[in-house]
């Protein structure tokens, strides 16, 4: 008993925090998988939210606190809410039968799904191959930096090096706001 205790304590615990990011990563992947697989749209969106939260935590675990909080604020606070609202606003009404009988054939839909899944799987395999087996994968990676991004540095960077993109983003966001409002507005029946 005592030995076991000693052994557990002797484990390289100081290395452990480095790998703690696997926890949010796991949650994120589970959430994403559920978001993709579930039938109920609301459940999908909720799992997506979970995945986003985990992604934000993952960012923080990797040292990018600011990005993590921005991720939480934007995705959980706004995008997830938007998706939920959109789901509620677009009830899946009775799908009118298409003229083409083949289109409604279950088999063709299943076939399409299988095709998509195959493609996704192929992409995954090739990506993983590229990550682990390409010559570049054997290249020397610089050690993980104690990467801390102070908020002040980010702010200064935003207003110095990336001022133009910042302005462009501001305009884009304004345009998106107006555009979304216009698009979603009920058209007046003339």
């Amino acid at each position: 008993m005592h030995e076991l205790f000693q052994k557990i304590i002797a484990l390289p615990w100081d290395q452990a925090p480095q790998w703690l990011f696997l926890i949010p990563a796991f949650v994120m992947l589970m959430g994403a998988a559920a978001a993709v697989m579930l039938r109920n749209l609301i459940h999908c969106a909720l799992c997506l939210t979970l995945s986003f939260i985990a992604l934000g935590v993952l960012f923080m675990a990797l040292g990018a606190e600011f990005v993590g909080f921005v991720q939480l604020l934007v995705y959980v606070g706004a995008v997830a809410m938007l998706i939920l609202f959109a789901i509620l606003l677009t009830p899946a009404g009775e799908v009118a039968a298409s003229n083409n009988p083949l289109r409604n054939f279950k088999f063709s839909r299943a076939f399409a799904a299988a095709g998509g899944a195959t493609v996704a799987l192929l992409v995954l395999v090739s990506l993983l191959g590229a990550i682990f087996f390409s010559p570049h994968a054997r290249a020397v990676v610089p050690p993980a930096q104690a990467a801390i991004a102070p908020v002040k540095a980010i702010g200064e960077n935003l207003l110095n090096h990336t001022l133009l993109p910042l302005q462009a983003t501001a305009i884009l966001l304004t345009a998106a706001l107006i555009g979304a409002a216009l698009l979603a507005k009920e058209e007046k029946k003339s």
Binding site: L29, A64, Q71, L82, A96, P143, A153, P165
Partner: protein
């Protein structure tokens, strides 16, 4: 090793997004897939930033911040379009919105 693990996680997340985009016929699900893929992209930015030789330049961070802002705009406009499509076609099935085909 750690960088590759993060990249692998990101790749898996990307493929989940791709899967949703490819197989689900609901436009909102397609958008969800796109959001997941964007998240995977952001994860890559952060990972490469963490393992870069000059993290103090904050390039990855900046990319991720702008990417998030753009994703928010994209989501807003995309969902507005979905709502408008639903209003026109009484359906959010992406396979029905084919009026623009040649």
């Amino acid at each position: 090793m750690m960088l590759q693990v993060i990249l692998a996680i990101s790749a898996v997340l990307f493929c989940f997004g791709l899967l949703a985009t490819l197989t689900r016929s609901n436009a909102i699900m397609v958008l969800i897939g796109i959001e997941l893929m964007l998240g995977a992209g952001n994860l890559n930015f952060i990972a490469f930033w963490k393992f870069s030789t000059h993290p103090e330049l904050l390039t990855g961070i900046m990319f991720a911040i702008f990417s998030i802002a753009l994703a928010a705009a994209e989501a807003a406009v995309g969902l507005a379009i979905v709502i408008q499509v639903h209003r026109r076609l009484r359906s959010v099935n992406v396979n029905r919105a084919t009026q623009l085909k040649g």
